[in-house]
């Protein structure tokens, strides 16, 4: 008897669902080991996480608050991942969007709410877009490793934001906290009347539908997929590789930039040190878990929002550092990757032939 793998022909639907669900369960089991090491009962911790996130209307609204930037950023990443461009720089692009939106408030303050929002949105789009397109151009033109350039640009963007909030933009009345003065009401996304949920949710929903439409219905969406599957064939088919990579990266960064604007204008109402909390990295998991499907991104962002909300309550109730949700996130990724294997292959036992 010997174990052999056999390639599956076609993947059954139940496996497509079982793998992410199984991955999540295994991840919670594995993370439980660390909770035990910390002397915390995993059952109690997970119950606390579950009720704080999904237990009441406020918890659910908080999940939605987290889901907004996650969904936007995951859509952004989906675009580049479809093309097999590893944009790991969404975090930096979020920061650049937030910085640009804040700059718009400071230097072009206007009266009308919609005009102000438009100026902020356009600034965020341009800043996030250029930040990503730069890495895209280096990749497409000279094959400079985009994983590293986008990552390095994350660190640069974080320091750039620190420069502004510790330096020229610091609110003199903030008692030394690294933050800008609060935005005027015209520069804030209005609340929709459910917890802290703001109208950024409509931007997120619009982007999800738009992405779904582009990939399902348009020629351009098809081209992106072709480039991702076989760049060489795409070039032979007359698709301009360099142009497409730069354009896709620009749009990807622009959407992440919008997510940054939506965070400062919808939630924080000012630019402050550490406002993102790693959405750019968490969104990678969301995009991956959703198998780059926009509609799945909507659901997964909400669930991932629940994990983040639960993690925050663990910090408050049990004194665990906020980074502890990273353990769960890392485990989820590992188990999903491992599960992929079982999606592609079936394991069969064969009798050794003599």
């Amino acid at each position: 008897m010997r174990i052999k793998r056999q390639k599956r022909i076609g993947q059954p639907l139940w496996l497509d669902l079982a793998i992410p669900v199984g991955g999540l369960l295994m991840a919670f089991l594995a993370s439980g080991v660390f909770l035990v090491m910390m002397g915390v009962s995993p059952v109690e911790a997970y119950r606390e996480m579950y009720y704080s996130a999904f237990g009441d209307s406020y918890g659910l609204s908080e999940c939605m608050v987290k889901a907004i930037p996650l969904a936007m950023t995951a859509i952004a990443l989906m675009l580049s991942f479809k093309m097999l461009i590893w944009n790991i720089g969404a975090e930096g692009q979020i920061f650049m969007g937030a910085i640009a939106a804040t700059a718009a408030v400071r230097y072009f303050p206007v009266e009308g709410h919609w005009t102000m929002m438009t100026i902020m949105g356009i600034s965020a789009i341009i800043a996030g877009g250029i930040w990503a397109a730069f890495a895209g151009y280096l990749k497409a033109r000279w094959n400079v490793n985009e994983i590293i350039t986008t990552l390095m640009m994350n660190y640069i963007a974080i320091h750039l934001m620190d420069y502004f909030v510790y330096g020229p933009w610091r609110d003199p009345s903030s008692l030394g906290f690294p933050m800008t003065a609060p935005f005027p009401e015209t520069a804030k996304l209005v609340p929709i009347g459910w917890g802290r949920v703001h109208s950024g949710i409509f931007i997120a929903l619009a982007l999800i539908l738009l992405a779904w439409w582009v990939f399902k219905m348009t020629r351009w969406g098809y081209e992106i997929r072709v480039i991702g599957e076989n760049p060489k064939a795409a070039t032979f088919a007359g698709i301009d590789y360099v142009k497409n990579v730069v354009v896709v990266m620009f749009i990807s960064g622009a959407i992440a930039g919008l997510a940054g604007m939506s965070e400062v204008a919808g939630l924080q109402g000012r630019l402050q040190h550490g406002f993102s909390g790693g959405f750019g990295y968490t969104a990678i998991i969301v995009a991956w878990l959703s198998r780059l499907n926009p509609l799945a991104i909507a659901i997964v962002s909400f669930l991932m929002g629940g994990l983040l909300v639960g993690g925050e309550s663990l910090q408050i109730v049990m004194g665990l550092p906020i980074a502890s949700t990273l353990v769960v996130q890392g485990c989820i990724l590992f188990f999903i990757l491992a599960g992929e294997f079982f999606r592609r292959y079936r394991i069969v036992l064969v009798k050794e032939e003599i």
């Binding site: 390639k7 790991i88 000279w142 510790y166 890392g330 590992f334 990757l337």
Partner: protein, 308 residues
């Protein structure tokens, strides 16, 4: 001279953790596996090294523990990437998340504690040489071990049969398999040993450099090491040069800050990352189409025996 020597010596000291991480990644990548989890592995090494040194009082046990923990966590990456053929980029990110999260949780109890750790030991004779002495031979033992490791790796990779096998597995696993090499076993060994060496780089930060543990103390050095592997075109000696170059930037930036200039600190802190991008760009442009000479040809691709 009085200004240059301390800066160069500081460059070596600051560059050493990056050097270990880069050397570890070269071992892993020579076998054809890309491990982007360096940042996580360095943190795991830094914390486990610190914890063991703190409880036993013996820094060498700390270094050994870091190596073991680094190898242990690389095992997850190896299982996912080698046995299960999973995506190496995503698995590496998962490893970084896991390492950052675990060390944040388990490290709480060690914040604020200091250890004696490893201290400076001047090498007799070599340490007395002008210029070279204070720059290269007036450090703690882990720095000297890193020199030995560079020399060992140069010899091992290009002068031994095992080294040749490793490179074969990274360049052309199918050919390596056909001459009877166990591709998976060699890749496992390279990933585990490489991960262990990376973690020692992390341990250097906590045991030798700062004698403290702080959350997230690797601060992007793991990612710089990933870039340096490309800069070094997978060669240990160039890895040393690159690491000291980055160590030098770090040292200069600290000195500029200490000298009290009016350049804001955050802008100085950007320097290493800007330098990384610049260096990568120069290399990629110089190599024409970017097909990097020296890169293991099968880097990042899983190998399955039955599927030829």
């Amino acid at each position: 001279m009085e200004i240059i020597v301390p800066i160069l010596a500081a460059a070596v000291r600051s560059g050493t953790p990056i050097l270990y991480a880069t050397l570890g990644e070269i071992i892993t990548e020579k076998g054809g596996v890309m491990n982007l989890g360096l940042e996580g592995l360095m943190l795991l090494g830094a914390l486990s090294g610190f914890a063991v040194t703190s409880s036993t009082g013996n820094p060498w046990l700390g270094v050994a523990a870091a190596f073991g923990i680094g190898a242990f966590f690389s095992l997850f990456h190896a299982v996912v990437c080698i046995t299960l053929g999973g995506n190496q980029v995503v698995s590496g990110l998962a490893l970084t998340m896991l390492g950052t999260g675990i060390t944040a949780i388990l490290g709480i109890g060690y914040v604020g504690e200091t250890i004696k750790g490893l201290t400076k030991t001047t090498i007799p004779f070599l340490g007395e040489l002008p210029l070279v002495g204070p720059v290269f031979f007036d450090h703690d033992p882990l720095v000297y071990i890193s020199y030995a490791l560079v020399a060992f790796m140069c010899w091992f990779l290009w002068r031994t049969k095992t080294g040749l096998n490793l490179r074969a597995v990274g360049d052309n696993p199918r050919a390596a398999d056909s001459v009877g090499l166990n591709v998976a076993a060699i890749r496992y060994a390279a990933t585990l040993i490489g991960g262990g060496v990376v973690a020692v780089g992390g341990a250097y930060m906590s045991i030798s450099y700062s004698h403290m543990w702080t959350e997230g103390m690797s601060a992007g050095r793991g990612w710089i090491a990933v870039a340096l592997v490309i800069f070094a075109i997978w060669h240990p000696a160039r890895a040393a040069f690159g690491s000291y170059l980055f160590g030098g930037v770090e040292a200069c930036q600290l000195r500029i800050q200490a000298a009290g200039t009016n350049i804001p600190a955050p802008l100085l802190l950007m320097l290493p990352y800007i330098l990384t991008i610049t260096v990568l760009l120069i290399i990629s442009v110089k190599k024409g189409k970017g097909i990097l000479f020296g890169a293991p040809a099968a880097l990042g691709t899983p190998f399955y025996r039955e599927e030829r």
